[in-house]
Symmetry: C2
Subunit: 200 residues, 2 copies
DNA sequence: TATTTTAGCGTACAAGTGTACGCTGAAATT
DNA sequence: AATTTCAGCGTACACTTGTACGCTAAAATA
């Protein structure tokens, strides 16, 4: 029972999501999107939108989930690179910058909705970020001499810096990005150093 | 030549700015504001808006300037408190949290437009923040054993963390804020420690 | 095969938007 | 006192928006 019909429905649903992501850009945020424009780009009538989502909010939350998923997948891949002998800090930063480069619209969504006008959105993004922090904290706790409390605070600070550097990178050219990344790595070292000092 | 007329003009101009700030909130961002609503709240006809600003963008940039000014004034006051014997980190953080509490809409504007859809806005906010970083870097360079490069990176990291903590605080109650502030202070200590280690 | 379900469409409407244009009365200037 | 300037207003217009409602044809089910 593959369901020719259900299959087609899934397809246009995905078309809506992709249309919405496509319309995100440096000068177009999610709250600027209109249901009609998204439907138009997806190739369906405005009213058909409702066959898939209750409203734009619901679409948006789905998009946040999808962006979070992409990010998590990318980071799992980073962990593999680390396991086969890369520096933790450098590999993680590189992977994150890759995410910003190849999925900038997904990153923009997370970035903006983190401080957007919908509490549900903010909570959803915060959840994705917390995921990240917890994973990193777990790693730091087991691999460095740092107690649980400090490992968490360390991870939180690191993720904040990386995320913010990503935001800045969006507006920069290659040259500036290199400098930014270099600074970021130093800053992460500060935190690692300080946390290990206080947390043991 | 006080100018009864120029005086009145200045007054309604300010009314527009304040009306706009008033309409900002957790669930209403600048890009959601409409010229008509702002004009209505300021008590003038929509078309009169143009006597004061070319468009909403121009209003917004003025607002960013104003928010930046408020922040700078508050921080100058913090420096006075520090000079008369307070801890640098704690006093600064407290002052910043005060800003978020008493001028949350001004903070929201900076926070959101930092990653908003207008390059001019993003640049304006970045400028305000850079101001901050440079001041702190200068202080760190002269008061701690840290070379110029590292003082800057240290300052940048600290401001990023403080600003981000402010953003999180917006959605939190008193209890959570206390915890957040405590974590933040630890994180700033990490950075201070690490920077002093690497930068001397 | 007969019936039900449903993705997608077209029409229609009320509400809100930015802004062009020309007027008015009072302040400023001559 | 005569003239110019200009903040603020009202009208008007062309758009865009979300969404209610009922239809259709094809897939799913009975």
């Amino acid at each position: 029972m593959s369901g020719v019909r259900a299959q087609q429905k899934q397809k246009t649903r995905q078309a809506l999501i992709e249309a919405a992501f496509n319309q995100l850009s440096a000068e177009h945020s999610f709250s600027n999107l209109s249901l009609r424009e998204v439907a138009r780009e997806a190739g369906i009538a405005p009213t058909s939108f409702y066959r898939h989502f209750k409203d734009m909010n619901e679409l948006g939350l789905t998009m946040v989930d999808e962006a979070g998923l992409t990010l998590r997948q990318l980071m799992r891949q980073a962990r593999r690179r680390i396991a086969s002998g890369g520096s933790v800090i450098i590999t993680s930063v590189e992977t994150f910058m890759e995410f910003i480069d190849t999925s900038s619209n997904q990153f923009r969504l997370l970035l903006r909705e983190r401080s957007g006008t919908s509490k549900a959105f903010r909570a959803a993004v915060a959840r994705e970020i917390k995921h990240f922090i917890l994973e990193l904290a777990h790693y730091l706790e087991s691999e460095t001499p740092c107690d649980k409390q400090h490992a968490y605070m360390q991870a939180e600070a690191m993720v904040t810096l990386v995320f913010n550097a990503g935001a800045e990178a969006l507006d920069q050219d290659a040259q500036q990005r290199t400098e930014l990344t270099e600074r970021l790595i130093w800053q992460l070292r500060y935190i690692a150093r300080g946390a290990n000092h206080y947390g043991s």
